[in-house]
């Protein structure tokens, strides 16, 4: 009898008893993310850990996401909810980013700024959809196409949406090659798309060293709330460009960013519990993300057209669309789009300018949101 009772006890504490549709759906969401990441290489570095976290936390009766005793929950509360991992990602991204194409042609910074138009369109729509100002800001920043910025702002402003926002941000970043071309084609003429641009010139080492210092001082003075983001991004870049601490720079670019990515992904995934993710808001966020990306590309392209006019046709307007960061995917999409009309047109390096400028642009927008809405 006892033996049978024991067996029944095991069965009663198994996941089968607690099985429920929301959990099953969330596990399927995890499968879809895994499939897209592995088969179509949708941002696999983040989406595979996110999907794993999502599946493990939604298995019935799983306690892995518990913030007091669970493995992922404890790491989430200590490293992710405190914004430590997202900011470490910024530090590493700074070390991974080469701002040369931007510094070679500083005026293209404006294109990276214009691409933030999508962020603000999404902001107003999100407010209109009934989200709180804080939630709206966190959702809007998806349009910046920078994963860590989205996770950072969601953590601070709308922790309950962090899962949906992260998934939307990384998914659309993967879809950039599909989102950008129609917008570019609708807003530019074929002549504009055929414009060839000079390859950016190398810039002096002094410029590269002073750039991160100056940017963090200027932005930090105006927007103290942006100091963690911009400051650490620029810190990483200074470590890279200083040239005297190569071993630190290499560690940031390899081991540290990999370790941070694994744990950021797993813990963000572990927030995707059914009760919080399977709500109408998630669908709204997915729609708003698409709008943000499309208007970001449109803003950049239109500013590109203006600069093309003003410069007497020296600027290909398409590179404006690369202001939607998703580094370096947008720039590569512009390159491919350019070669569609002229095989000898190499826009990649020129498009990298707005591309990296967009990273700074989105970080500034996030800082402004923090100053105004937090």
């Amino acid at each position: 009898m006892e033996f049978i009772n024991g067996l029944l006890g095991v069965f009663e504490s198994s996941g089968f008893v607690a099985m429920n549709w929301p959990s099953i759906i969330m596990i399927l969401v995890g499968f879809v993310l895994l499939f897209l990441a592995i088969k179509y290489q949708f941002e696999p570095l983040l989406l595979i850990p996110i999907a794993i976290g999502c599946i493990l936390v939604n298995l019935p009766l799983s306690t892995i996401g518990d913030v007091h005793h669970g493995f992922l929950g404890q790491i989430f509360s200590v490293l992710t909810a405190t914004e430590i991992l997202p900011i470490i990602m910024f530090l590493c991204l700074g070390a991974l980013t080469d701002f040369t194409p931007l510094l070679s042609r500083p005026i293209t910074f404006i294109l990276g700024a214009a691409a933030q138009f999508g962020v603000f369109m999404a902001l107003f729509l999100a407010i209109g959809f009934g989200f709180s100002p804080q939630e709206s800001a966190a959702i809007a920043i998806i349009g910046g196409a920078d994963g860590p910025t989205s996770i950072f702002l969601a953590t601070k402003m709308a922790p309950q949406l962090i899962g949906a926002i992260s998934v939307a941000a990384y998914s659309y970043m993967s879809l950039v090659p599909m989102i950008l071309p129609p917008v570019i084609r609708a807003l530019t003429t074929e002549e504009e798309r055929k414009i060839k641009m000079e390859t950016p010139k190398p810039v002096s080492k002094t410029t590269k060293i002073l750039f991160p210092i100056v940017v963090s001082i200027v932005v930090g003075l105006i927007l103290p709330s942006a100091i963690p983001l911009i400051g650490m991004l620029m810190a990483g870049n200074l470590i890279r460009e200083s040239g005297v601490v190569e071993r630190l720079s290499k560690t940031l670019q390899n081991e540290l960013v990999n370790i941070a990515t694994i744990f950021l992904g797993l813990t963000v995934g572990s927030t995707m519990v059914a009760g919080q993710f399977l709500v109408p808001e998630t669908l709204k966020i997915i729609l708003l993300g698409l709008i943000a990306f499309a208007f970001g590309a449109a803003g950049g392209t239109l500013m590109g057209k203006l600069m093309c006019k003003l410069s007497g046709g020296k600027i290909n307007p398409m590179i404006g669309a690369a202001g939607v960061s998703a580094v370096p995917m947008s720039a590569r999409t512009v390159q491919i789009e350019g070669q569609r009309y002229d095989k000898s047109n190499y826009l990649l390096m020129s498009a990298m300018g707005p591309n990296v400028a967009g990273v700074i642009g989105t970080a500034v927008a996030a800082g402004v949101f923090l100053a105004l809405f937090h």
């Binding site: 006892e2 991974l96 990298m352």
Partner: protein, 158 residues
């Protein structure tokens, strides 16, 4: 050889001794203890439940893996047959069959083991063969920390 027989005997005695000891403890505990577990049995019963559950789960996993492999193999075979029907040469087909066949050939053994050594070396000394980005990865995907790729620029200057 005699020494080996003695060793075997001792080993078997050690194992039988262990079994007898466990049997003895189980009988004693069953009759004496009333130590209750959370799921409503004595400790010894709990241990037996654990034993049974563990093996049931592991047998289930064995079935699941076997089923998974069977399914995937069948799909593969169907695909191969389709391909063959679509015009592949008989020769190729027979070659394929040879490889999946069960006749153990020395050449095959060497080939598989060579592959295994290669795989193991890759695992053991990753830095030698470490290529962070694969060509396919570069073409179809993006990640926020890759700036350029060789492929993007490969046509330049050629």
């Amino acid at each position: 050889m005699n020494g080996q027989k003695i060793a075997n005997l001792l080993t078997i005695l050690f194992l039988i001794g262990g079994l007898v000891l466990v049997g003895f403890f189980m009988v004693v505990n069953w009759s004496t203890f009333t130590q209750e577990l959370s799921h409503g049995g004595t400790t010894i019963t709990g241990g037996i439940v654990a034993f049974v559950v563990t093996f049931l789960v592991l047998i289930l996993v064995t079935f699941v893996i076997s089923f998974l492999k069977w399914i995937l193999n069948r799909e593969q075979k169907v695909e191969i047959e389709k391909k063959n029907l679509a015009g592949k040469s008989k020769a190729e087909k027979s070659t394929h069959k040879k490889v999946t066949g069960s006749v153990e050939e020395n050449h095959e053994l060497i080939a598989v083991l060579t592959a295994a050594i290669h795989a193991s070396n890759k695992m053991i000394a990753p830095h030698d063969t470490f290529k962070i980005f694969k060509v396919r990865e570069m073409i179809t995907s993006s990640s926020s920390w890759r700036i350029f790729s060789k492929d993007d620029l490969s046509g330049v200057g050629g």
